[in-house]
């Protein structure tokens, strides 16, 4: 069964012209009309008109079948019928249930379909000449009209409004809030208590409760700067990044695994999470952050981590491929379309607050977004590839390289010297080997190599050596000359010449270059007596200087025929065929064979059978150090000695080819005076190699021969044989081993830029005739991208350009939402027609404008906001506000906020006394009582129960605003759940450690400070005594009674105040 999907390009225009004339000629065809009336019209009326006639309530696919002109013009997929050509008529195909299935309810009986075929063959005679217009014309998409939507208008530069209560309006933001309240003659709520404000701001900024010490310091700081000092401390805390990174993770549907059947773990996801934490802690500017997210791998000046010097920017796009994924999709293109839709959804909502993904099948129903915008972005994503980038400090890597190149020169010299002396007696040695009378070590090696013939070079050499006279030598040479790849094969990357087949391949890492290695270049082994692993001249390679430079190499996109063959050698190399960006290579029944690990110093031909995917787009991916890389989550994948070399890659039908070798014999000019036999020729050629090697003058054919000899072990390159060699190699290795191992992160790399077609009605089987140019959203910036790459960088630049008012509006609104519990635009991910209107549009613009003007500092904005008087209000609502503004749009008071799931869990962990302040690293099990929730592993198929119970999103769709639900299951979790009892146990033990110097009241007070960030009030002190008396334990004994405190702590945990900030 072939899994082959025809892409239907309905009808060439020329065909249409021809066929039009065909039916026009048959104007009067009484017999045909009779056939139509009898066999066709009744069927159309009964089965098709409901959706495809001018009287349809809603015309589907814009196709009308109640007139000849209707089907001739056709619908979204072009003309429905090609008169005379049933096989080319989409209508027939649909009736046959081939690509479309029409009528949708049931396939028509075969005889009816046969009638239609016959009718089309007859030229589709149709008496219904009058062209009709649909009853209900859908409103045309009018971009200019749509563009008038408020959120697309330029940011306004507004002066804050005048207010009466100038003392209250401390910041310009306060003025906007107060003005609306004063309009109604309302008073803002009184200021919250200091304790309340401290708890609020500590949770909002770090997701953790304030410590009793924080509380003490703040309450005792009566200076004017007390509040600001707290804010500065919190903004400086590394926990700030942990809190705010998680907000962003909601938007990019962060998770560690792929869901579906096997829920495969993804490699190095945590690196993206840690990147976010650092980005927020380092207060990366908004524009830089956005640019990195889309194109961090493409920035000319990447942002380096100030401490480690690592490339931070390249981690930005790590979220794009945090998709779900299934193995072995029967329709791999449909799978790509599904997965890309998710990516577009994330990008659209997170950065633009726009539901771009809604336009997969049709122009947006309400907003200024078209399917062209969608497929433009689709093309950009399709022109990019998932990459595991090495982020080790780029500048240092360049220095390392320089040093290594210098250290390598003496090695080459030593090797050539050794070879020179080895080849002194080459003719004798070969002769002895040929006659099978080897005596010396050299002769034995030659004999062995010529017997085994492990590669094409040795096979050719052996053939040459068999030529005992001029005639047979000539014949052998002719034979070798003829060996070429069949002319019909497609060389991937460049259709012309084998040796140049890398023109369009895309390298990453410092070592892979977009050019072959110089002839004679070699890879030094990381240890042992063997000096070199392989000669790697002639073709691109990575790891030839040091295995600790990570690299990858990818072919341009090509269209699959039924087999791909590629020559590869190296250590720990992964060769994969990536079809339609299918990520789970090597998994699933049909896709299991799309990847292979190579560990061979001899060329290997990797063959991929691709008949299942004929016609699909694909590229080849070579990962140096890729052995264990994919989906073995969290393995670095590095092996010392890893290198990769890529030879010719071809895309062809039929049996795998033999890659030709031995070209040195057909290339060498023969001086017939001196050379009579193969042995003569071989001796001359071989003895010339060392000097040429030393001078860097090896030809490609000579390079190949040398490589073949090294592979075959015909030359002894043991470092013990030469002091010069040993010394130079040891110096080289020592330096090599001092280099840092690669650090891989999830990122992207550009492929070759290709425009994508529009998928009509979202179907990848029905695509537009012309590809759709890549650009930003037309409503904001309609310029087509001109660059060679994917267009991501251009898209990112358009995203943050001043002509795009959406990005800053959406971004500041998110910050406002997280601090004030509700956005100025409440639908934080949708600034379109279906979203909410801004409660304070002027404030939103003022925020966005001043945010941008001040350089887009997130921390700066947060600081201003939390120091505002609006943020300092209590949650005590006025009656007027409750009556007239029950949802508190006008912010008369601060809303009561339920803590987010992570903050709840982190509070519990912190109360238990087990919280470790450790940042970063691989994810941990949900039962880990010491780490913050952001580090808990998130497997999509089994998300952590506790966190889900309190509304953590499930990692499948962007969530800028979480649900806040409440249910008895939450109460049960705290009443009976193991977690809460474990916390109570630890918390009580923690108390007992310090309780010996305390009174009962003081102990109770401490617990209140720890849990609620405030001292126990009188009522609570009395209440605690009541609880104590319930237990029947005397106050004196209580302080030592673990069971009492455990139960008391458990009661404290069940108090609702723990979950709410007010």
């Amino acid at each position: 069964m072939k899994m082959k999907f025809r892409s239907i390009t309905f009808l060439l225009p020329t065909l249409l012209v021809v066929s039009t004339s065909t039916w026009a000629d048959q104007k009067d065809d009484p017999q045909g009309h009779a056939f139509f009336e009898k066999n066709i019209r009744p069927v159309l009326t009964e089965h098709c008109y409901k959706c495809h006639s001018s009287k349809s309530r809603k015309v589907r696919g814009k196709l009308l079948l109640d007139s000849q002109a209707g089907w001739a013009k056709g619908g979204e997929s072009g003309p429905a019928i090609v008169p005379g050509k049933p096989e080319k008529s989409p209508l027939i195909s649909a009736l046959r249930y081939e690509d479309f299935e029409m009528p949708p309810k049931s396939k028509l009986p075969q005889e009816v379909i046969d009638n239609f075929v016959k009718w089309v063959e007859m030229g589709a005679p149709d008496p219904r000449k009058e062209s009709k217009k649909p009853n209900l014309v859908e409103e045309e998409f009018d971009l200019d009209k749509r563009k008038t939507w408020w959120s697309l208008q330029p940011l306004k530069d507004l002066t804050p409004p005048k207010v009466k209560n100038k003392d209250w309006a401390k910041t310009s933001y306060d003025q906007f809030i107060l003005q609306k309240l004063e309009e109604k003659n309302w008073q803002p709520a009184p200021a919250a208590s200091r304790e309340s404000w401290l708890r609020r701001v500590t949770y909002d900024l770090t997701g953790l409760p304030p410590s009793p010490n924080d509380l003490h310091n703040f309450l005792n700081d009566l200076s004017d700067q007390a509040f600001e000092k707290v804010v500065d401390r919190l903004l400086k805390s590394p926990h700030f990044g942990e809190r705010w990174a998680r907000h962003w993770m909601d938007l990019v549907r962060y998770a560690d695994s792929k869901s579906f059947e096997a829920d495969y773990l993804m490699a190095n996801t945590y690196q993206y999470r840690d990147y976010l934490i650092r980005a927020f802690n380092q207060d990366v500017s908004f524009k830089q952050f956005f640019k990195e997210a889309l194109a961090g791998d493409l920035l000319k000046e990447p942002r380096l981590d100030p401490e480690t010097g690592r490339n931070e920017s390249v981690m930005g796009p790590g979220f794009i491929y945090l998709t779900d994924g299934q193995h072995g999709p029967p329709d791999i293109h449909a799978d790509e379309a599904r997965i890309f839709e998710g990516m577009i959804d994330v990008i659209g909502k997170a950065f633009l607050g726009y539901t771009v993904a809604c336009t997969r099948c049709h122009d947006h129903k309400f907003d200024a977004i078209t399917t062209k915008d969608y497929y433009s972005l689709y093309g950009i994503i399709a022109s990019s590839r998932l990459n595991y980038a090495d982020v080790n400090p780029p500048k240092k890597q360049v220095e390392y390289r320089k040093e290594l190149i210098e250290l390598k020169a003496p090695v080459q010299k030593a090797l050539a010297h050794l070879l020179t002396s080895d080849f002194k007696e080459i003719k004798n040695d070969l002769k002895a080997a040929l006659e099978n009378k080897p005596e010396t070590d050299h002769q034995k090696r030659w004999a062995e190599a010529l017997k085994k013939k492990p590669n094409t070079e040795l096979r050719s050499l052996a053939q040459i050596l068999q030529a005992k006279d001029e005639v047979s030598l000539k014949r052998v040479i002719e034979e070798i000359k003829k060996r070429e790849l069949p002319s019909k094969v497609q060389l991937i990357g460049n259709p012309k010449k084998e040796r140049q087949s890398f023109a369009n391949w895309i390298p990453t890492g410092v070592d892979f270059e977009d050019a072959p290695r110089p002839n004679g270049d070699f890879v030094i082994t990381p240890n042992g007596d063997k000096a070199i692993a392989s000669i790697v001249g002639g073709y691109p390679a990575s790891g030839h200087l040091a295995s600790r430079f990570g690299g990858s190499y990818r072919s341009p996109t090509f269209t699959l025929s039924d087999r791909v063959s590629i020559r590869v050698k190296g250590k720990n190399v992964r060769v994969s065929l990536i079809i339609r960006h299918y990520e789970l290579v090597g998994r699933g029944p049909t896709t299991g064979g799309t990847t292979k690990v190579i560990n061979s110093d001899t060329w290997q031909t990797v063959n991929f059978n691709t008949y299942l995917w004929e016609g699909e787009k694909a590229f080849i991916e070579i990962l140096q150090n890729g052995g264990e890389f994919r989906f073995a989550a969290d393995t670095g994948g590095h092996v010392d000695g890893a290198y990769a070399q890529v030879g010719t890659a071809i895309n062809a039908h039929g049996a795998p080819p033999e890659f030709p070798g031995g070209k040195v014999w057909s290339n060498t000019k023969i001086d017939t005076a001196k050379i009579k036999t193969g042995l003569d020729l071989a001796s001359v050629v071989l003895s010339s190699l060392p000097a040429k090697w030393l001078q860097g003058k090896l030809s490609l054919a000579e390079n190949d021969l040398l490589a073949g000899l090294v592979e075959a072990g015909a030359i002894d390159l043991n470092i013990q044989r030469s002091g010069e060699l040993k010394k130079s190699i040891e110096a080289y290795r020592k330096y090599q081993h001092s280099l840092p191992r690669p650090t891989y992160v999830r990122s992207l790399t550009d492929g070759n830029g290709e425009d994508e077609h529009v998928y009509i009605r979202g179907s990848h089987k029905n695509i537009s005739k012309v590809p759709n140019p890549r650009r930003f959203l037309e409503a904001i910036d309609d310029r087509t991208f001109k660059g060679r790459g994917s267009g991501r960088l251009e898209w990112a630049e358009a995203l943050v350009s001043d002509s795009n008012p959406l990005a800053p509006r959406v971004f500041v609104n998110r910050i406002w939402h997280h601090l004030f519990g509700q956005g100025i635009v409440n639908s934080v991910d949708d600034f379109g027609y279906m979203g909410s209107q801004p409660s304070h549009p002027e404030l939103l613009d003022h925020l966005a404008k001043s945010f941008i003007t001040k350089g887009g500092s997130t921390k700066g904005l947060i600081k201003e906001l939390v120091l505002s008087n609006t943020y300092r209000m209590s949650s005590r609502a006025s009656q007027a506000s409750l009556d007239q503004d029950p949802n508190n749009h006008l912010l008369q008071h601060m809303p009561v906020k339920r803590l987010q799931a992570e903050a709840i869990r982190d509070t519990l962990v912190s109360l238990s006394g087990n919280l470790r302040p450790q940042l970063f690293g691989r994810s941990v099990n949900a039962n880990d009582m010491g780490r913050r929730s952001i580090y808990v592993q998130l497997r999509r198929k089994g998300m952590p129960h506790f966190l889900m119970l309190f509304d953590m999103p499930d990692g499948t769709e962007p969530f800028g605003r979480r649900n806040v639900t409440q249910s008895p299951s939450q109460a049960l979790e705290f009443m009976n759940g193991e977690f809460s009892w474990r916390v109570a146990d630890s918390w009580a033990k923690r108390l007992l450690k310090v309780s010996k110097d305390k009174s009962f009241n003081e102990a109770v007070d401490l617990l209140h400070q720890q849990a609620f960030g405030r001292r126990a009030n009188e009522k609570e002190a009395a209440w605690a005594k009541t609880v104590l008396s319930d237990s029947g334990i005397k106050e004196k004994e209580a302080l030592k009674n673990f069971n009492f405190w455990k139960s008391f702590c458990h009661t404290m945990l069940n108090r609702k105040e723990l979950l709410y900030v007010y």
């Binding site: 049931s106 599904r338 029944p589 049909t590 279906m834 949650s875 649900n963 008895p968 299951s969 009892w981």
Partner: protein, 473 residues
């Protein structure tokens, strides 16, 4: 609660004051927090008679999930042509399958007989279910969204062939709330095998989390339902909590969500009482237990019998949506890529008697007419063989059946081709099944919406066709 985008009219306090107490109102309160405000009437859910779009026929749904995919040509869709062409190469066009397999026509190893007054044909795999032929409405024209397990299972549960969307049980819970505030409204009686694609199949997606399925494993208590202290001390604790939480309310002034959360302690406590009671089968008579299959020689039959009996008890107690999952040990679920005879025999044996008894029992208690039973896998199987003796996945045409709850019994709707491979008449999708299911529950599937992602999302997306031949007129 049918939409979350109606204009705001009432404050939370008002709603809480007006709402009759119950899970319905709790769900409501939480929705309010999600900026969701409904009209006042929706808040007043009568615990016994939820407000619906039109009078409901069914009050509860029991969904029997036949994990892995039952073969239609071996169960409810007889195809005599397969006997004739047995062993021959299929003459028809075949779609790509997951395993890229292509075998010879494979006739059903089981015989079909006609049952009841309706004469509905059922194979020998289901002799007990067959006794209720006149109650069954077999849909023979089912299609699935994908030939892959997880996609198809997600599609069946949520209407979208990937994870993340609310399960149909969650939608029912969201739409109707519970008729019993002390039990969850969506319960999964877990047989042991989690459907392919995992627990997200029971999830609430973008709907409020309290609508997600509560997984109950027969024989083991519900998560967090067992107190870790004596009931007396727990009660005392709850009482003290009420006192001190009340103080919090006094300090804040206005915090309906906290008020409602405080009430959850009481609800949780009552749940703690009622869930174990509902799960306790000691009061059931031996006769009943025997009828369900408690004494069957096959362990999985005894297991499914327990699940079915529990399902009846849940229905009696007002649970809205009850899903039953299958157990391991019958071959790989219903997923017989090989050894069809052995696997399907064991699978059918495990569920046939319990399901027969469930129908019987509901009927004798007068509950069948208000309980919709749905029996379905995520897709069907190919009429041609995979390997020598198995069948591959077939999303192009398969059967499910429904019974009770107002469906038209003794009927078969739709048809596959003469091989049982592809639907040729009255094609149905799970959107259609969902639409008809909601219809029977009194809900217009086009009006059960939740605003998310800039759209008013529906269980049925933009699809769903009500079929009078199935749900009556």
């Amino acid at each position: 609660m049918f939409t979350n985008n109606a204009p705001e009219q009432f404050s939370r306090r008002e709603l809480l004051r007006d709402a009759s107490v119950g899970f319905g109102s709790v769900a409501l309160a939480s929705l309010l927090h999600n900026q969701a405000i409904a009209d006042k009437k929706a808040a007043k859910i009568d615990v016994n008679q939820a407000k619906t779009h039109f009078p409901p026929k069914a009050k509860s749904v029991i969904f029997l999930f036949m994990d892995g995919g039952v073969s239609q040509v071996d169960s409810f869709d007889p195809k005599p042509l397969l006997d004739k062409e047995n062993g021959k190469k299929p003459k028809f066009k075949i779609d790509p399958t997951v395993f890229n397999s292509l075998g010879k026509i494979f006739a059903s190893p089981w015989k079909f007989k006609r049952y009841g007054e309706s004469g509905l044909p059922v194979s020998d795999l289901f002799p007990n279910v067959a006794q209720h032929a006149d109650d069954l409405c077999v849909v023979r024209s089912m299609t699935a969204f994908s030939p892959n397990h997880p996609n198809a299972v997600y599609g069946l549960h949520t209407g979208l062939a990937r994870m993340g969307r609310p399960s149909m049980g969650a939608w029912v819970s969201y739409g109707l709330g519970s008729a019993n505030e002390n039990l969850p409204s969506f319960v999964v009686l877990h047989g042991g095998i989690t459907p392919n694609g995992g627990v997200p199949n029971f999830g609430s997606g973008f709907l409020p989390a309290n609508n997600q399925g509560t997984v109950l494993r027969p024989g083991s208590p519900m998560r967090n339902i067992t107190p870790r202290e004596t009931l007396d001390s727990q009660k005392k604790k709850l009482q003290r909590l009420e006192e001190i939480d009340g103080d919090l309310l006094g300090r804040i002034g206005h915090a309906p969500q906290i008020e409602s959360a405080i009430r959850d302690h009481e609800l949780a406590f009552r749940m703690q009482m009622e869930v174990p009671e509902a799960m306790d089968l000691s009061g059931e008579s031996e006769l009943i237990k025997d009828m369900y299959g408690f004494n069957h020689k096959w362990g999985n039959t005894r297991k499914f019998a327990t699940q079915c009996l529990l399902a009846r008890r849940m229905v009696e107690r007002g649970v809205r949506f009850i899903e039953l999952t299958t157990s391991g040990g019958n071959g790989d679920r219903w997923d017989q890529h090989g050894n069809l005879i052995d696997g399907h025999k064991k699978n059918a044996m495990s569920v046939d008697q319990p399901i027969g008894a469930l129908i019987q029992d509901l009927k004798q208690r007068g509950l069948l007419e208000s309980t919709l039973i749905v029996f379905s896998g995520e897709f069907g199987r190919t009429p041609f063989a995979q390997g020598r003796n198995g069948r591959d996945h077939n999303p192009q045409g398969f059967s499910l059946w429904m019974a009770g709850g107002g469906v038209q019994g003794g009927t078969a709707y739709g048809a596959t081709d003469e091989y049982g491979y592809r639907v040729v008449e009255n094609k149905m999708t799970f959107h259609d099944i969902h639409a008809n299911m909601l219809h029977l529950l009194g809900i217009d599937h086009t009006r059960l919406t939740y605003r998310f992602s800039g759209r008013d999302m529906r269980l049925t997306d933009v699809h769903g066709r009500i079929v009078p031949e199935i749900v009556g007129t």
